[in-house]
Every structure is written in structure tokens, then in C-alpha cells.
């Protein structure tokens, strides 16, 4: 239930689906009464949402999808990382250390007394990779689900993102800043580590930043420049900073094929963009421009498939593509359902049934979402599609060749 006043039309919406039209402008008294009614309604809505969800801190407008519920998990560190296992049964997060909680049973355990700066569950949910950062140095560790330390290596730089490329290999996005009198050198490096020896450097991008850019954006870069792994685990998306001397700095969104090692710029966006995420089977990419609109792009054909009027500063997409969480708003099949604080950061479980959210240093879990996951492909088909994508990234075939051959493979 909500009340809005649209002055230009002199139209009052009292209840969903029930409107009264005013042919003449409202009198001052009528307007004051409506304002009072509006405030009362908002208070009622907030009270009801709190009562239904049991969440005192979460502000929600609109309705959750049918069958979905939201529950508070607890507090977490400011802007701390968190990750759900594939089934959405366990959540790892930072709260004065690295913790794992099982929302179903309420069980919670401290894995490390150090607070991580990046986290990622292994695909089978039996291990967790965690990065610990100290300025331009830190460590990368692998823990068993019960907290045993399985592997550790020192890292130069700050790990801002982690992903498991396979059951044994971790990808890490390493950001290093070297300050000079004339500005700074920002190095973004993609590392691969199998838990033994030193991580292998897969690619590195360096840019020179002006002092003004560094002053305004350093913390953001150290926190938000990260990588996203494709569902087939053969490509990543990342943003690299470009700061030309006489122009506004911006982010280049790069699609990087891990098999070929070739990267390609697919978009330019403003610095406060949330970057880009893969959609569905990885054939489309959702890009936030950081200002007014996000867009779904065919990265090879450079075609815009859909536009969404939200900046895309915080973005998460469910594996089946039914749900999107953009700048604090949950969309179901493209339709807005519930809105939370703009700054809420979301993350869907691998089965698409759960959405974990961090809002103002508190964690919440929305369960009961449910969706049809993309059909599992045969290993031969997956291998062929990966091969085609590799050739595409190397410029050996065109997007048209890729589509044609890909369709034949899937048929």
C-alpha cells in the first residue's frame, strides 16, 4: 500500500489499482491532509515490512517474489566481502575475522582471526579461498570447510576479487598502486594459483593516474576493481582504469579469454560503474555505466540487447538469468519487485535459489527464489564452444562464424 501525489496531474493514488482524478488543483488544506496520510502510510509500510521480515535494519519497498522470504544473518565488517556456497546453504563473510555461518541451522564458526578482503567458495563447497590484505602486501589462503588451513602464499598487492577456475585453480585479481610525485602507477594483475608454489601471472595492465584521480578514487579502486568469471569458467570480465591527461578518467571493460590469453575492450564506462557481469550461459554481458543506464550487451556483436534505467554501481545476476539485483533493486524477469538501500550489495547462490545481501554492514539472505538453470550441456559441446570462443578471441573466426558453428554444435 502506498500513497503518492503527482502535482502536475492533480492525481492521487490511494490504493494499488484504485485512483481518483482531480480536475482542479488541490487546496492547501487538502494537500496538507494528503501529506499527513502519506507519512502515516509510510510508517505503516515500514512497520509491516519489519514485522513480516523480522529485519529491523533492512528498508524494503515493494514485494518480494512469491514464496521468497528474507532473514537477517547478522552483522559484518564495513564493505566486507562475503560469498555463498553453490547451494546457498553456507555463507562465508568477514566479521572481526573470517566466519562461516549456516543459516539453516544457525551454526557459526570462526575460520580465521584475520578479516579477509576477498572470498570465494570452491565449486563443490568443500573449500574456501580467502585473501588477506595489508596495503600493498598480503596473503592468499585456502581453508577447508571446517577451518583447516590447506595452503597459503604471500601476495604483493591487494587482492580485490577471487574465483575458482576449476576444482583446483583459483583466479585472483591483484591491484597494486605505486605513488610517484607526478601521480601513480596502477597495476591490475590476473593471477592463477593451484595452491602450490607461487601464483602464475596471466595478464597485467598498467596505467598512469594523475594525482587528482588518485586522491578521489584510490579507495574505490582498491575495493571495486575486480574480476567476474564466466559460467563456463573460460572467460573473465574486469575493468581497467584509463586516465588520459586532458580527458575525464574512465574504466575500460575488458573481456579476457583465459584459454587464449587475449583480452578485448567491450565498453567504456564512468569510474563509479560496478563494471560488468556475465548473464546466463555467458553469451551476454550486463554493463553498468555508473551514471544513468545499464545495458545488456552481446560482447562480440557489440549489440545492445536491453537497457535498464539504473546506474549499475552494484550488480548481481542469478545463474539462470531470472533475477537481477541492481543498485539495491531486485528484478524478476526484468520487472522490479523489491527495493532496498541503493548501496546494498547482492550475490546469488550457484543454484539461483538464494540471494545474500550486505546492507549497511549487515548480512541478509533472501531464500525461496527458485529458477530454471540453463540446461547442462554435454562435455563435448562445452569443449567445442570453449574452443570456438578461444578462436573468436584470437580473431581467427568472426562473431557470425561463432554463432553459426555454436548453433550447429548445440543442435
Amino acid at each position: 500500500m502506498s500513497v503518492t501525489v503527482e502535482r502536475g496531474l492533480g492525481r492521487v493514488l490511494l490504493q494499488a489499482g484504485k485512483t481518483t482524478d482531480f480536475k482542479t488543483p488541490l487546496t492547501a488544506k487538502e494537500f496538507q491532509m494528503l501529506r499527513l496520510l502519506h507519512v502515516l502510510n509510510l510508517c505503516l509500510a515500514l512497520f509491516l515490512s519489519g514485522a513480516v521480515t523480522g529485519c529491523a535494519h533492512l528498508q524494503m519497498h515493494g514485494m518480494l517474489p512469491p514464496g521468497a522470504t528474507v532473514a537477517e544473518i547478522g552483522k559484518c565488517d564495513v564493505q566486507a566481502p562475503f560469498d555463498l556456497d553453490a547451494k546457498g546453504e553456507e555463507i562465508a563473510f568477514a566479521d572481526g575475522g573470517l566466519r562461516i555461518r549456516t543459516p539453516g541451522s544457525g551454526r557459526s564458526r570462526l575460520i580465521s582471526a584475520d578479516s579477509p578482503c576477498a572470498l570465494a567458495w570452491s565449486p563443490d563447497g568443500r573449500r574456501i579461498a580467502a585473501a588477506f590484505c595489508r596495503d600493498n602486501a598480503g596473503s592468499l589462503r585456502i581453508y577447508g570447510v571446517e577451518g583447516g588451513l590447506l595452503a597459503e602464499v604471500g601476495i604483493n598487492g591487494r587482492i580485490t576479487g577471487l574465483a575458482w577456475r576449476s576444482m583446483t585453480e583459483i583466479l585472483a585479481f591483484d591491484v597494486r598502486i605505486k605513488q610517484f610525485t607526478f601521480g601513480a602507477n596502477l597495476a591490475e594483475t590476473i593471477l592463477q594459483w593451484d595452491g602450490t608454489g607461487k601464483p602464475k601471472e596471466l595478464a597485467s595492465i598498467e596505467s598512469t593516474l594523475r594525482p587528482s584521480t588518485m586522491k578521489e578514487w584510490k579507495d574505490f579502486f582498491m575495493r571495486s576493481l575486480t574480476l567476474r568469471l564466466s559460467p563456463q569458467r573460460d572467460e573473465i570480465l574486469y575493468a581497467s582504469v584509463k586516465d588520459p591527461p586532458a580527458f575525464t578518467p574512465y574504466l575500460r571493460i575488458v573481456l579476457h579469454n583465459l584459454e587464449s590469453g587475449k583480452g578485448r575492450e567491450i565498453a567504456k564506462v564512468s569510474l563509479d560503474s560496478g563494471g560488468a557481469v556475465f548473464l546466463g550461459a555467458g553469451e551476454a554481458v550486463l554493463i553498468g555505466d555508473g551514471n544513468s543506464g545499464s545495458r545488456v550487451l552481446d560482447p562480440w556483436g557489440d549489440r545492445v540487447l536491453r537497457s535498464i534505467p539504473t546506474p549499475g554501481r552494484e550488480m548481481a545476476v542469478s545463474p539462470g538469468g531470472r533475477y537481477e539485483m541492481l543498485d539495491g533493486t531486485l528484478y524478476r524477469e526484468g520487472v522490479r519487485t523489491a527495493s532496498f538501500q541503493d548501496s546494498c550489495k547482492g550475490l546469488f547462490s550457484g543454484n539461483g535459489g538464494h540471494l545474500a545481501m550486505e546492507c549497511d554492514s549487515r548480512l541478509y539472505m533472501i531464500s525461496g527464489l527458485g529458477e530454471d538453470l540453463p540446461a547442462q550441456r554435454e562435455s563435448g559441446e562445452i569443449a567445442r564452444l570453449k574452443e570456438l570462443k578461444k578462436w573468436l578471441s584470437e580473431g581467427l573466426i568472426t562473431p557470425q562464424d561463432y554463432r553459426r558453428s555454436g548453433e550447429k554444435t548445440v543442435q
Binding site: 607526478f182 588520459p244 591527461p245 586532458a246 580527458f247 578462436w391 580473431g395 581467427l396 562464424d401
Partner: protein
């Protein structure tokens, strides 16, 4: 004009006329001790006679001069020597710095100031269409002595005229050209010196024997590219441009020779150039085929990227002499040294350079390149075969081969598309 104004005007004008000498005297007092050679040369120069003092070129801000910010570049000289400046700019000397400057954008320890040679501040678009790639990874010392001492000719008259002297004896001496136009890549000075032209010059003087300036700066022009019918890499200009240039050179030859003789000699030079180019093309094709089949060691995608072409094979004038394969190194020598000696030797009427340092070396280079190609092919045969070895490698290898062939013009786009679709089927 009243009397007072007249006197003021006269005083001002006389002051202006004498100011330069007055300032020069101020400088000379100290600089006779600090930089005696500069003062010595200036005092005997046409500038001194015309009362063009130190400050006319260097300005009078001693602080800037001490910081090296008041160097006299071509713009300063061009304020008075306008015709020389416009001739110079139209010539190959006028782009010497751009063509020779080491493009450093991919180097980790680059000097940010270097960007300004090709870019306006804030722009990624180069201001010149001359590509620059040759002198990669040079130390600043090597770049200064080994590169800029010659290529600075673009922006510095002193490169030929010296800093403070104006005596035309200096710039009419072929040795001034020899500073750069000698050595393995373009030994024009040696060719001329040991030709009949050079011998006549040495024996009987420049009235009888022509020197560099006689032919290339005829009539005192600073456009040293007049009459030249090919690029600095030996590529002939298109027919219209070539014809125009030839018509500039023939009158120069006619000063001493019959026109028919001059045209015949120049046409012989053209023929030598074409024949020599045929040998180079043959070598380029061999290397292109090897690259198509992944046989270069190392392949371009396994080397530091070329600053202009990335991981593509570069065999044109922008080919590098570092981070390359042995067979490309042989081509570099063939093209940059021996091809240049053969064709420039022919145009400078030097038989030994045309034949023994040029043509013979070109043919020997081709022998070396063919031999190295055989070795690389044999080595490839010895490698473990890929899954589709019977049909010439994996599908990916064959796609790469097709792409390389397309890039170097070995396939038309239509042929490439047809062969690619067959592979994908």
C-alpha cells in the same frame, strides 16, 4: 612631429639597431672565457657582421639559457631564413626526427617528455603520419648519440651549419653530409667519394667534380629530396610523383651531361632498383610462408609486441633488429644494408657498391635465407605431430595460417573466407 618626438623616435630606432651588439658585447665579455669557441666562431660569422648578436637567437633570459631552455632551433633561424625553412620542411630532412625517433610507448622506463614529439598533450592521435619504430629499447645515451645526432636535422639547422659558424665552406664540404650519410645502411658519401664524380671533385675541385650539394641542393635549395624518385626505404613513388621528381633531377644532370645520357643513366638506376627489389621480395615471401606455418623462432606472438603492429609479423620498413628471429635478422641485413647499397650505388654511379657490396651480397643473403628456411622446415617436421597432422596441423593452426596469409596479402578476403568456412565445417 615636433622636435622632441623626432629625437625620441630617432633615439629609439638607433637603440634597437645597436641593442643586439650591445647585448652581444655583454655576453662576449664572459663567454670569451667560458665558451671561447662559440665566441670565436660568432665573431667571424655573417651574423656578427650583420650585427645579429647573442640575444637575437638565445634571448636575454640568462636563467633560461643556463637551464638549456633557450636552445636555437629551426623556428628561431626560420624567423629570418624563411625560404631555407620552407625548403627544409618540404624535404626528407624535414621529417628526420619523426621518422627516427624511438617510439617508447611500450617501454616501462619511458621518459614522459618523449610523447610530445608525436602527440599534442592529451591526444592519442599522432601529429605526424610518419611511423616511428626503429630505435626501440635504446638507452638515452645511445638514443642521443646514435640516433638524434642525425635525426635532429629536422629541427636543428646547427645539425649541418654548426652552432655559431655561418661559413658556407662548412656546409659545402661533403664531409658534413658524411656525418650521417655513411656506413652500412646508406653509404652515399663513400659511394660518391669513390665514384668518378668524387674523384673529379678531389682532383679538380667542385667546379669540375660535383659534390652532394651540387646535385641534391642545386641552386642553394634546402629541399634535399628534390629529384629523388623513391622513399627512403627504396620503394618507388607512384608514376606521377616519380615523373615529376625525375624532371627535377634531369636539369641538374644537364649542367654537365647530355639529357639523353642523363635519362639513360637514371633509368639504369631504376632497373637496378627493380631487380634488387625482386630479390628482397623473394626473401620476404619465404619468411612470410614460414610465419604462416608457425616456423619462425620465435614467432612474433612470442616476442615483445611491435610498437605499431603488435604481434603481427613486420617485414616492411618498420621491421626491427632486436627481439627477432635469425632469418628475419638476415632479411634485415639484406634490406637495410645490401639493398640500399645496390640501389644507391647505382644512382651514385659506383660500380663496386652496386655490384660487390650490393648485388652480390643480396644474392648471398638469399642463399642464407633459403638455407635457414630449410633448417626451420626440417625442425618443424621433427616436432610431434598435432591431431590433424595428416591435413597440415590442427584446425586452430590452419586457421592461424590462413589469417597470417590474409594479413600479408597471400590470400584475397574471398579466398580466406572460403577456406576458413571449409575448416569450420
Amino acid at each position: 612631429m615636433n622636435r622632441f618626438s623626432y629625437i625620441t623616435f630617432l633615439t629609439f630606432t638607433l637603440s634597437c639597431l645597436t641593442m643586439s651588439t650591445v647585448f652581444a658585447e655583454d655576453c662576449v665579455t664572459c663567454h670569451r672565457e667560458k665558451t671561447p669557441a662559440a665566441v670565436f666562431q660568432w665573431e667571424r660569422s655573417a651574423h656578427a657582421k650583420a650585427k645579429v648578436g647573442c640575444e637575437a637567437c638565445h634571448g636575454n633570459d640568462h636563467g633560461r639559457i643556463e637551464k638549456g631552455e633557450a636552445r636555437v632551433d629551426i623556428k628561431v633561424c626560420g624567423r629570418c631564413h624563411k625560404k631555407a625553412l620552407s625548403d627544409h620542411k618540404a624535404s626528407r630532412h624535414g621529417m628526420g626526427l619523426h621518422s627516427g625517433w624511438g617510439c617508447t610507448r611500450n617501454l616501462t622506463k619511458r621518459n614522459p617528455d618523449e610523447c610530445r614529439f608525436c602527440h599534442e598533450e592529451g591526444s592519442e592521435v599522432p601529429t605526424s603520419d610518419v611511423q616511428c619504430a626503429r630505435f626501440l629499447k635504446q638507452s638515452s645515451e645511445m638514443a642521443e648519440i646514435g640516433c638524434n645526432y642525425c635525426h635532429s636535422v629536422e629541427g636543428s639547422c646547427a645539425s649541418c651549419h654548426t652552432n655559431h659558424g655561418t661559413d658556407l665552406k662548412i656546409v659545402r664540404n661533403p664531409n658534413i653530409c658524411a656525418k650521417c650519410h655513411m656506413g652500412p645502411d646508406h653509404p652515399q658519401w663513400e659511394m660518391w667519394q669513390t665514384s668518378l664524380h668524387g674523384t673529379l671533385y678531389t682532383s679538380l675541385g667542385r667546379e669540375t667534380g660535383p659534390d652532394c650539394q651540387t646535385c641534391h641542393m642545386a641552386g642553394g635549395s634546402h629541399d634535399v629530396s628534390r629529384g629523388i624518385t623513391m622513399s627512403s626505404g627504396g620503394q618507388p613513388y607512384d608514376a606521377a610523383k616519380k615523373e615529376g621528381r625525375r624532371e627535377e633531377m634531369v636539369p641538374v644532370c644537364r649542367t654537365c651531361h647530355a639529357e639523353s645520357f642523363a635519362r639513360k643513366e637514371l633509368a639504369r638506376g631504376d632497373a637496378v632498383r627493380e631487380q634488387s627489389q625482386g630479390l628482397v621480395k623473394e626473401a620476404e615471401k619465404i619468411i612470410g610462408d614460414l610465419a604462416d606455418h608457425d616456423m619462425l623462432d620465435p614467432m612474433p606472438d612470442l616476442r615483445p609486441p611491435h610498437p605499431l603492429k603488435g604481434s603481427q609479423l613486420v617485414l616492411d620498413n618498420q621491421m626491427l633488429y632486436e627481439d627477432t628471429s635469425h632469418i628475419e635478422r638476415l632479411l634485415f641485413k639484406m634490406k637495410k644494408y645490401d639493398f640500399a647499397r645496390a640501389i644507391k650505388g647505382a644512382y651514385h654511379q659506383n660500380p663496386a657498391y652496386t655490384h660487390w657490396y650490393g648485388n652480390a651480397e643480396l644474392k648471398l643473403d638469399l642463399v642464407d635465407i633459403k638455407s635457414e628456411a630449410s633448417r626451420l622446415r626440417e625442425r618443424k617436421k621433427g616436432e610431434a605431430p598435432g591431431p590433424d597432422a595428416a591435413s597440415g596441423g590442427t584446425v586452430e593452426e590452419r586457421l592461424k595460417t590462413l589469417k597470417r596469409k590474409l594479413e600479408r596479402g597471400g590470400l584475397t578476403p574471398l579466398e580466406y573466407e572460403q577456406q576458413k568456412q571449409r575448416l569450420l565445417e
